[in-house]
């Protein structure tokens, strides 16, 4: 066990996975000599050499296209996309190729690339260093979408991602990359996909969150707790596969649901959660399902503070829910 932040947990996990399995390699822009712009791959090139820690030309198309080819051949590439905002030159390779390879080859050619990308706001990165577009990928059949919210989950989920037989998009909440530290095990224990984490049990209302919004939800729950409101906070951890059972169980208990994400609201991941509730938990719902999200605007630079959901907005939504029905 050691205390570390999320970047350190990822760095440590990459190193451990690479030590274990010579087929694991890392590629991306500035991941080698520079150790990654967020230092997630710091030191790896010294340890494993430029053949396994590959500084690529500036082309996300090339990064993901070649990573797919490597994985077809039998390696386990972990591609870093510098910011999720810059993944779009590779979008064709991801949605048309990576996500569909197993299916369209009738199972002959699975392509199990792991794509790591920092996502989300909170670092004053403006319109192109802040976006949360996980919904695009969740809507794409054939790729798993994973978002840790703690150093320990970052390690356990990344181990699962690397061992997984399917493509995984591993989104890292850069806002809490360093600000949040925690105990991380030295073991190589995996956190399995499809199992949400009950961050805090509660009986009055359920708050669903993931990534950097988990601490926001926790803070809101703390504040509400001081006023006697018992808030259940659930960290979804993996959006695909989703732990639907956990979502339904919580709302069956509390009857009230608040969904928190940074992404724009319209057709965001929260819509799916809400739709699942409207289909499968309608009779348990005592109040409208509310979403606390980014606005349906591009992500602003100067005004990011008012764009990102904060604990106060979550508290307000919870109160609104409690007053209803």
């Amino acid at each position: 066990m050691s205390e570390m932040n999320i970047v350190q947990a990822i760095n440590r996990t990459l190193r451990d996975a690479m030590k274990e399995d010579p087929d694991v390699l890392v590629l991306g822009e500035d991941v080698g000599v520079n150790g990654g712009v967020f230092r997630a791959t710091d030191g790896l090139i010294r340890e494993f050499g430029a053949e396994r820690v590959i500084d690529t030309p500036l082309s996300e198309t090339g990064i993901i296209g070649t990573a797919i080819g490597m994985s077809l051949y039998g390696l386990k590439p972990i591609a870093e996309i510098q910011f999720l905002d810059f993944i779009y030159p590779a979008f064709d390779q991801i949605v048309s190729e990576l996500a569909k390879f197993r299916y369209r080859s009738g199972g002959q050619y699975p392509a199990h690339v792991v794509i790591r990308a920092p996502y989300g706001g909170g670092i004053k990165g403006g319109i192109y260093h802040s976006q949360s577009t996980e919904a695009y990928f969740c809507h794409t059949a054939g790729i798993k979408v994973v978002i840790p919210s703690t150093p320990s989950d970052a390690r356990g989920l990344l181990f699962s991602a690397i061992a997984d037989e399917d493509p995984v998009l591993f989104l890292e909440p850069k806002r809490i990359y360093r600000s949040l530290t925690g105990e991380v095990s030295d073991s190589q224990e995996k956190v399995p996909f499809g199992h949400a984490r009950v961050v805090r049990e509660g009986s009055d209302v359920s708050v669903f969150a993931y990534g950097a919004m988990v601490p926001v939800a926790q803070e809101a729950a703390d504040a509400l707790g001081r006023d006697g409101v018992s808030t259940e906070v659930i960290d979804l951890r993996t959006l695909v596969p989703l732990d639907e059972a956990a979502v339904l169980a919580s709302v069956e208990k509390t009857g009230r649901a608040i969904i928190v994400h940074e992404a724009a609201r319209f057709c965001g991941f929260g819509a799916e959660l809400s739709a699942i509730l409207a289909e499968k938990a309608l009779y348990s719902l005592k109040a409208p399902v509310l979403r606390v999200t980014g606005y349906d605007t591009p992500f602003p630079y100067a005004l990011e503070n008012v764009y990102l959901p904060n604990p106060e907005r979550v508290v307000r939504a919870v109160r609104q829910s409690l007053q209803a029905g």
Binding site: E51, T66, G69, L72, S96, S105, G106
Partner: protein, 359 residues
């Protein structure tokens, strides 16, 4: 048309793994088989017995020539027009027809349109429709082979249109930087659907685009089986001896429509086509064989008869295969069916049972 086999940059030939001289008769038979399959499939589509077809006619020498210069362990990243490559790899005709039909025996389980086949056992990666995407993948596989120290090359097949794709640019650039053992085999059949080659790009040849990535670009007459064979063999040897990737442009002409959905009369003249057909790669190789005294009109007639019968019979067999299991629709999305997909499948089962779904 290009000078036959003009190499823009000639590198010293290496000793590694010199391929045997190609068997011209074997090549000719393959080309005839491909042509006969094309002809049959165009008819089958008109009869509504298959849904779609994209013929390769005119490109047989390029495809068979390239294929015969490769080793079985080399990896092929095809586009959707590479029937003759698959046949040259030893894929049974029946497996091709199973794919065209999407029946229960189809190796890709009815997931893709006709022509988009894949055969893992012969390192023939499954083709996809988006133009160019196989190019970067071929480079990645080559990087993996480098890392594993496997003495193989990867080859990407693509068209003139694909040189405009993002993956062409990224793929050749990565290949140059990492000096991967990759052959970029461009069949310039003069058309990207209706767009003629001259409007695809302003460079004088496609081959010369290699230099933008620091790699040799080779222009070859794609109607000349031996020229193609040599160009690919040379590129392969260079790659295996650490000399890096090569871009090869094989100049050919697409005799047929782009696909059965296309009407080439809208964009090209009969005269143009007739002129191109004078350079028919099959007639050319046949002529060479006849001149060499290794072939006769009579043998040729017999061959065509045999091949046509075989094609027809094989298709009829494939038509008799079982249809796909509809439940298979939920397989292979992931390695294991997720709870969510299991739930969708359960509802699907119920709807099938109740006759709500109609096959």
């Amino acid at each position: 048309m290009a000078e036959p086999h003009a190499v823009s940059q000639k590198l010293p030939q290496s000793e590694t793994d010199a391929a045997p001289e190609p068997d011209l008769l074997d090549a000719y038979r393959l080309m005839v088989l491909a042509r006969a399959t094309d002809e049959r499939c165009l008819m089958l589509q008109r009869q509504g017995r298959i849904g779609f077809y994209a013929p390769l006619m005119g490109q047989e020498a390029a495809q068979v020539g390239a294929s015969r210069a490769l080793a079985p362990q080399d990896w092929i990243f095809p586009a959707y027009r590479e029937l003759a490559v698959a046949l040259a790899r030893g894929v049974p005709l029946r497996a091709i027809f199973d794919q065209l039909l999407g029946n229960a025996d189809d190796r890709i389980r009815g997931r893709q349109m006709p022509n988009h086949f894949g055969f893992r056992d012969v390192n023939f990666v499954v083709a996809s429709s988006p133009i160019g995407t196989q190019i970067t993948q071929a480079v990645g596989a080559a990087m993996a082979a480098q890392r594993r120290k496997d003495s193989i090359v990867t080859i990407a097949f693509f068209g003139d249109g694909a040189t405009s794709s993002n993956d062409f640019h990224a793929g050749l650039n990565f290949a140059g930087v990492f000096q991967t053992p990759t052959i970029f085999f461009c069949q310039n059949n003069q058309w990207a659907i209706s767009l003629p080659r001259e409007k695809q790009t302003r460079s004088a040849t496609l081959a010369e685009k290699g230099s933008a990535y620091g790699m040799p670009g080779v222009l070859v007459d794609g109607n000349d089986f031996l020229a193609v064979y040599s160009a690919v063999r040379e590129a392969r040897e260079r790659a295996l001896s650490g000399g890096g990737p090569t871009l090869i442009e094989a100049e050919v002409y697409r005799f047929g429509p782009h696909s059965t959905s296309d009407d080439p009369k809208r964009y090209r003249t009969e005269e143009q086509l007739a002129a191109a057909k004078e350079r028919d790669p099959i007639l050319r190789l046949k002529g060479e064989l006849v001149s060499a005294g290794r072939w006769t009109e009579e043998l040729d007639h017999q061959l065509w008869e045999e091949v046509r019968t075989r094609v027809t019979r094989t298709f009829e067999e494939a038509e008799k295969a079982k249809p796909l299991d509809p439940r298979s629709i939920f397989d292979d999305v992931f390695a294991h069916v997720t709870p969510q997909l299991a739930e969708e499948r359960a509802q699907f089962d119920a709807e099938l049972r109740d006759g709500v779904l109609k096959l």
